[in-house]
């Protein structure tokens, strides 16, 4: 039994225009000390799926199905009290934009200690001490003095560190990081990723790292799930995804990755077209309209099935394995998504 296990999660929004199937049957799990990378374009459902774990997508127009098991306990229908306890204490989350994720009117110290005080029966002084300790842990110099500063007195990278400190202040067992580096400068991105990695090693928590950038998870993830239009299309270990990818969408993502360490033999490849509208996704395989390798069978929905002999490596594609091996190679030894030469 994994620490956190999401089973067949469906999150649908009933809008005026119709039902948006933001997440349509996603399953994934993560264990203590592991890092799961969830990769996909904007609108693939990766954020919605993870916000749903914390009940953050609940609303009168949302319908949520499936199971979210925390230590085997299903929290998908958790009541308000149980949910408030899970949030921040068992599972903590940090978000994409550190500039807007902190309350602009409250001092950092107050926002940090509030996170403790809602969960633990400690004095304000103890909460403040703990807040200073955490700021120090995430590498903010002169931590105690900075508790009295407002968010706008911190840079973007520093604010993301504050967010991380706030998330970790109650020793959560799971940290969900939703595009934690997307809004930051490239130089700061690496710092923040390394910080998350170091803290995970120190504290032994499970981490779910959500990103649209395969390059971000390449360094830190143990497992990777690739999401596309509300579904997981491929799941496997880091090596499996990078060196033996099975789904054409994953090929496309890998092909569009800038690789400064390799000679530039050609232009970066791109995936043609746009992700489908989740109001009316294509019948069958959702990636079908953008896939140059589409054939008749793709009009039926492929299951997320394990590859023969590799039970942990799953993908959602009808192409036979031997055909994939030839189709995914473009120019030399690189993997990419291109129409086969006629």
């Amino acid at each position: 039994m994994s620490l956190l296990e999401v089973q067949d999660l469906k999150v649908h929004f009933e809008t005026d225009d119709g039902v948006v199937k933001a997440v349509d049957g996603a399953s994934f799990s993560v264990d203590k000390g592991q890092t799961l990378g969830i990769v996909g374009e904007s609108g693939s459902g990766k954020s919605v799926a993870n916000m749903t774990i914390l009940g953050l997508t609940r609303s009168p127009i949302t319908s949520i199905e499936g199971r979210i098991l925390l230590d085997g306990r299903d929290i998908i229908d958790a009541g308000a009290d149980e949910l408030h306890q899970v949030r921040g204490e068992d599972i903590a989350m940090i978000f994409q934009d550190p500039l807007t994720s902190l309350h602009p009117f409250f001092k950092i110290g107050r926002q940090l200690s509030e996170a403790i005080l809602v969960h633990k029966d400690v004095s304000k002084q103890e909460a403040t001490d703990r807040a200073a300790e955490l700021l120090d842990l995430v590498g903010i110099p002169d931590a105690r003095r900075r508790l009295g500063d407002y968010p706008h007195e911190f840079s973007g990278g520093m604010r993301q560190r504050v967010m991380i400190a706030m998330a970790l202040i109650n020793d959560p067992r799971v940290l969900i990081a939703d595009e934690p580096t997307t809004a930051l400068d490239v130089t700061i991105q690496a710092q923040i990723l390394r910080l998350i990695q170091r803290l995970q090693e120190q504290l032994g928590m499970a981490v779910i790292l959500i990103t649209h950038d395969l390059g971000v998870v390449a360094d830190v993830a143990d497992y990777i799930n690739v999401m596309y239009a509300g579904r997981i299309v491929e799941a496997g270990t880091l090596d499996e995804i990078f060196y033996d990818p099975q789904h054409p969408y994953t090929w496309g993502l890998l092909g569009s990755l800038a690789r400064p360490d390799r000679p530039r033999t050609r232009r970066l490849s791109q995936i043609q077209g746009q992700p489908p509208s989740l109001l009316a996704p294509p019948q069958g395989c959702h990636f079908r309209p953008r896939c140059p390798h589409e054939f008749d069978k793709c009009k039926q929905t492929p299951g997320l099935d394990p590859r023969a002999g590799v039970p942990g490596h799953l993908d959602r594609c009808w192409l036979p394995p031997e055909k994939k091996r030839t189709l995914r190679v473009v120019q030399g030894d690189q993997i990419g998504l291109e129409a086969p030469a006629a």
């Binding site: 914390l54 953050l56 308000a80 408030h84 306890q85 899970v86 949030r87 921040g88 204490e89 903590a92 989350m93 978000f95 934009d97 807007t100 994720s101 902190l102 309350h103 602009p104 009117f105 409250f106 509030e114 996170a115 809602v118 969960h119 407002y150 706008h152 967010m163 706030m166 998330a167």
Partner: protein, 334 residues
């Protein structure tokens, strides 16, 4: 922070000077009616008019009149012949053409009624408007929200004088269908402070209704915006109970722009904008006085009230600016 306040105060003073100058232009330079003739009244003869002209210093050059006027309004000194022509200041706006009472006395006599009217109305509209706005935002798109928003639109659209008459018709103790609250002119008979408050009950409600409705709608939309902010999601994600997310994190942000509105509204009402309510309920306030003064072409009184009003508006703007810096830490560092 201190620098910010000092800068704001200096701005306020400069603004007040500018407003005074404009008012001087409007009342002394532009009118084609001769102030001396107005002052002389019906039985005017050339000699009397000439005497008044001399007394008010109206034949002096414009710049000298202007400096004398500014001296009388802002300083206690006898510069530019202030003592000789109308007496020294500060706050000397001259005497009423009609009753020969100093304008300052007239204003100070009228101010308490207006101040009490406005103070009570502010309390009422905040008590009605703010909770309504918050609840409507939180219960957005429910029946409750729709009903309150339609009701508020009705109150915003209803003219104050009509609302006042309806309120009197329904609730006044003399002419009302149900005899509950004191009616027209009851303020004039009220002796004690509490009696005055009681007599102002209907006027408070009437004056507060439209503003409460505006505040409710404003706070609702500002609250809806705030509740979709990222930092609200952060508060939820760290386990803060929804009630506190709304009250501590949400309202704290949404209320800030309301402070701006509040300052301006109080300033405007004290400056005479409660005129309709005062007329309907016959409350002897600033607004009522300016109507009388205008009807009688009593220039010094009109001018005094306008300048006083400008003073209130500038002052409350200043208070708003300072309050804003206190409420929003980002402002302090700009």
């Amino acid at each position: 922070m201190l620098r910010y306040i000092v800068r704001r105060v200096l701005w306020g003073i400069a603004l007040l000077f500018l407003v005074s100058a404009v008012i001087f232009l409007i009342f002394y330079v532009f009118p084609n009616a001769d102030p001396a003739k107005l002052r002389a009244g019906r039985q005017a003869n050339p000699a009397l008019i000439e005497q008044i002209r001399e007394q008010l210093g109206l034949s002096d050059p414009i710049w000298e009149q202007f400096l004398r006027y500014m001296t009388q309004v802002f300083t206690p000194f006898d510069w530019f012949g202030a003592a000789e022509h109308g007496g020294t200041g500060p706050l000397n706006f001259g005497r009423s053409f009609q009753s020969n009472t100093p304008v300052k006395e007239i204003i100070l006599e009228r101010l308490p009624a207006t101040a009490l009217l406005v103070a009570g109305a502010v309390v009422f509209w905040l008590l009605m408007g703010l909770p309504t706005g918050i609840i409507s935002a939180v219960k957005r798109r429910t029946l409750l929200d729709r009903v309150t928003m339609v009701t508020s639109l009705a109150f915003i659209s209803a003219p104050v004088f009509w609302l006042g008459l309806v309120a009197l018709y329904l609730f006044a103790s003399d002419v009302g269908v149900i005899h509950i609250f004191p009616g027209i002119g009851s303020y004039l008979d009220a002796e004690t402070f509490w009696a005055k408050c009681w007599s102002l009950f209907l006027p408070w409600l009437v004056l507060a209704a439209a503003t409460a409705a505006i505040y409710a709608r404003y706070l609702r939309s500002s609250m809806i915006d705030v509740m979709s902010e990222d930092y609200i999601r952060t508060a939820r994600a760290k386990g803060v109970a929804e009630r506190n997310v709304i009250m501590r994190h949400g309202v704290r942000s949404a209320i800030t722009p309301i402070v701006t509105l509040l300052g301006l509204d109080i300033g405007l009402l004290l400056a005479g904008n409660a005129i309709l309510t005062e007329s309907v309920f016959n409350i002897p306030g600033i607004g009522n006085e300016i109507v009388i003064a205008i009807r009688r072409s009593d220039l010094p009184v009109i001018q005094g009230i306008v300048l006083f009003g400008a003073f209130f508006i500038v002052t409350f703007n200043l208070i708003v600016d300072i309050a804003y810096a206190y409420l929003d830490p980002r402002v302090r560092y700009q």
